[in-house]
Amino acid sequence: MTDHLLTEITVFILAVFVGIEVIGRVPSTLHTPLMSATNAIHGIVLVGAILVAGLQFAPLGSVVGFILIVLASLNVFGGYTVTERMLAMFRPRPIVAKKDD
């Protein structure tokens, strides 16, 4: 095992701890949007997809490369769209004055 791999494992483990810390504070009422938000975040694999399919030497060829980009961008755009849609629906109690009419 190289130092380089060890550094990457360090980054990974620290990020896991940050994740546990941050996500443990999300209330259960937001668990579905949370799941869809994290779903969109792993769409970051699109970065990898572009680096594999977009550079001068593209080993997968255009067809598989295209499928790869479609899959990853579906994950990103679909994930953010549904998260945004769900979060827009969450409202606090409406202003009481409305009920008096």
Binding site: S28, V47, Q56, V82
Partner: protein, 470 residues
Amino acid sequence: MEAVTQAATWYNAAYLITGILFILGLKYMSSPKTARFGNRLSMTGMLVALVATFAQGVVQWPVIIGGLVVGAAVGIYFGRAVKMTAMPQMVAIFNGCGGGAASLVAMGELMKTLATANGSALPFDFTITTMLTAAIGALSFSGSIIAFLKLQELMTGRPITYPGQQVVNALVLLGILYCAVMVIINGPDVLLHFGIALALALLLGILFVLPIGGADMPVVISLLNSFTGLAAALTGFVLNNNVLIISGALVGASGTLLTLLMGKAMNRSVTNVLFGAFGAVQSSGGGASGGSGAEVRSVSADDTAALLAYASQVIIVPGYGMAVAQAQHSIRELEDLLEKRGVEVKYAIHPVAGRMPGHMNVLLAEANVPYTSLYDMDDINPEFERTAVALVVGANDVTNPAARNDKSSPIYGMPILNVDKAENVIVLKRSMKSGFAGIDNPLYEDPKTAMLFGDAKKSIDAVNNSLKQL
């Protein structure tokens, strides 16, 4: 060389910003008030990462732009069109896409490295992370598709089991491990073994989700989400890219936490959910208590209205049946009518109500129910004793008192909503059919329980009509 290093520093700085924006974005999700802002931060982070990636010598523009346009168009279209009841399968399919993409990225990197290695051995760091990425990504891809098919009811939601299932799964897993080891130690035919491992991982994803029942999908979806997160993080190891490692780790942690939480809410270990084929044998446990022959009492919509109108506090217990009947908007109207009369209305949400964690909250939010009226199980359970009427709409197993006091019940020990402690219980139900777990519910035979039979939406509408005339 100097210029190249400097450019790389810039990309990595941009990726660092992305990582920070993702973490902050999740942090802002700790309250419904700030969650939307958090999601915007996260989107900004994604944009920063994409721009930084484009600047790294992308030349295959037709493939990249074409793929992005198609992916974005389809993703945004379905993201907008999907009904909130269908959200779990939508999340499953997007999750599968991410897993599939991670797998292909690993394959591409392996082919690239093999082409440039000219026969020399590949480094161990590279082979192990590449193999893991591909296998986990592929498993997540095919598993998510089966979860999608089950939730969309394109195939049966019941567990699919056959003799020797675990043995078959173990053999497939062994096959993957053998091929993976051949790849990792740089054995002969690296690409061939890699391909076989990939195909077997796809197969394992299918085999692994088949025996899991529809009611256990919240667990499966969380778990598959964490798998894809892990696959994305591993892609970062393959490409030496920290933003992928950080983001993937965040998702992996979140998915794992939610998976454990769901398991706890069902009082079952995650292993039991995944390998127990729950609900496959419903004749043994449930049938025994069903033979008691006690009468259930049914009630009319008018009587229900009268009971609700003069109550001080009403707790509504929604279940997935409410969503199936699309009754949430009628329930919202009922809440308004009752509150006009000075009745306090609260909603009791069980952690596994719906088909994914927090699903019921989203369905009620869609019907304009303020999130401040929604209560977690732990917060609402002490309230039932002070409640005149508990109105159970399409929920079953999560209200079953057998979970508390019948040791022979398959769901014994599962935390439930204590609706039986309320003064009156009204259960809206289509028929006397048992719930997803296939277990009889003694709540229905309780003397203080009355059943309002029929379609939940029609029943609530009828209650609303008679409330207006009271």
